[in-house]
């Protein structure tokens, strides 16, 4: 390349960065990771509903938020890896919806907790045993598209039923997240259900792999319907929904999809708990560690970095 050409190239690059700075820079410094957005939603500072314990509410918001955050991260691993560009885009969009839900729920958890932690502090500085997500959210797809679809079908059917009932939550932030989330999850569930039909009722090979993927995910289904002690107390205050109470609804949805897809409902022993503890109590599978290592690496190497 001629010297003149190099200079012109550098000049263009400088212009491009300058115009970026002009359109988005203004005078607020940006975090190098996360958002640093304190004003994410006006509702976040609402009072704790009467009859609800603040620590329970903070824990419950972490449960709902961590499910979305960790699963969102796993879904984003499909970016540039899906079998077709359309699926790449679809899985990224679904991840983004869940990340949005997670941000609000974690911001609410931080506010209610009252210890000065914001959404970023909760996402980037907690250790493994401080996360409260279910096991299903943290499993790897191992770049097997059938696994991605099986997990999304189960997760979205469950979360949609949960959020649909949380529309009436006494906590205004949870109710608001549910209001948006129900619309989003309806799209996610339909996407997964349609792919389950195509793969299950497809070729011998696609059917075999779809069935195998369901078998791999099934041990983690039981945990979705287990009621934690915080949930039990918050149900009485009208804040939480009993996950055990949505089981028949979710079973019916999964049954309908599997039957139409000519697949068999797996009969697998549930993944065990230790002394009654599971994801909700901070006890995780070996899959969560690598997720957090990646998710938190930037924040841990450069605490408080801005750009």
């Amino acid at each position: 390349m001629s010297r003149h050409g190099t200079e012109a190239g550098e000049h263009d690059a400088a212009n491009a960065y300058q115009s970026l700075a002009e359109t988005t820079g203004h005078d607020d410094p940006r975090w190098a990771f996360g958002t640093g957005a304190e004003d994410a939603a006006a509702e976040i500072t609402a009072a704790v509903p009467a009859g609800a314990d603040a620590a329970d509410l903070a824990a419950y918001c972490q449960m709902l938020g961590d499910d979305a955050l960790i699963y969102s991260h796993r879904l984003s691993e499909w970016v540039s890896n899906a079998p077709e560009l359309e699926e790449d885009v679809a899985l990224a969009n679904i991840a983004l919806d869940l990340l949005g839900q997670a941000r609000v729920l974690l911001a609410r958890a931080g506010h209610v907790e009252g210890a000065g932690r914001d959404e970023d502090a909760l996402a980037y500085t907690r250790t493994e045993s401080q996360f409260r997500n279910v096991g299903l959210a943290e499993l790897g797809d191992e770049l097997d598209f059938a696994r991605a679809i099986a997990r999304l079908l189960i997760f979205s059917s469950w979360r949609l039923a949960l959020l649909h009932r949380l529309l009436g939550s006494a906590d205004p932030v949870i109710a608001a997240v549910a209001g948006k989330g129900v619309k989003e999850l309806t799209y996610h569930r339909d996407y997964a259900a349609r792919w389950t039909l195509r793969l299950g009722d497809g070729t011998d090979e696609s059917r075999r792999r779809m069935q195998a993927a369901l078998e791999a995910m099934w041990p983690y289904v039981e945990e979705l319907f287990r009621t934690s002690e915080q949930e039990r107390r918050l149900i009485e205050a009208g804040v939480a929904v009993d996950p055990a109470g949505i089981r028949s609804e979710v079973d019916a949805v999964l049954g309908e999809v599997l039957a139409k897809a000519t697949l068999t409902r797996p009969d697998r022993r549930p993944a065990g708990t230790i002394a009654g503890r599971g994801g909700r109590q901070g006890l995780h599978t070996e899959n969560l560690g690598p997720v957090l290592a990646q998710l938190q690496s930037m924040a841990r190497q450069h605490p408080g970095a801005t750009w």
Binding site: A41, A42, A90, N93, G179, K183, R189, D190, R194, V257
Partner: protein
């Protein structure tokens, strides 16, 4: 008077991802309040994870600062959740002119559990280029959170559809 002037400034800020639409067209402006030297703008996101929200906040601050308001606060409310039904008729026309099919009416919320939709609903989305009604859905997830991808067999062009929410 002052209120109306601030509202006019806010109404002219455009959406960063669909710049043919103003924020007013999109229906995300929920309130503009002038109190002394402070303007408070309340907006609502289209989707929970809408990545444009930070840019919208910055653009609103910049436009109002330039218009002479020294203190600008941008607040976000989530409830009631945004619906494509809030897009103005002018906004719908501008979308179609830009080659993006505008949304139809959003489905009303049913009382019981939300039913599965196992095949694309038989909705008519006319091609924004040639007007042919017989277009097909390629993917429900498009390049931005709020659009789906469709194709028109008549003029053989792919196009985006702002999907009902």
């Amino acid at each position: 008077m002052e209120q109306a002037a601030a509202r006019t400034v806010v109404a002219q800020v455009v959406d960063p991802e669909m710049p043919m639409l103003t924020l007013e067209d999109l229906g995300v402006v929920r309130g503009v309040l002038v109190d002394g030297d402070t303007v408070t703008v309340t907006i609502t996101p289209t989707y929970s994870g809408c990545p444009a929200m930070d840019a919208i906040r910055d653009d609103l601050r910049a436009a109002l600062t330039q218009a002479g308001y020294p203190r600008v606060e941008v607040r976000t409310v989530l409830s009631p959740a945004w619906s494509t039904d809030w897009i103005s008729s002018g906004g719908r026309r501008k979308l179609a002119e830009a080659g993006i099919a505008p949304p139809g009416p959003a489905a009303p919320r049913a009382a019981g559990p939300i039913p599965l939709t196992l095949s694309p609903a038989p909705v008519v989305v006319p091609c924004p280029r040639c007007g042919s009604p017989g277009t097909e859905e390629l993917s429900r997830f498009g390049p931005t959170a709020c659009t789906a991808l469709r194709r028109c067999p008549s003029c053989a062009e792919p196009f985006e559809h702002l999907k009902e929410l």
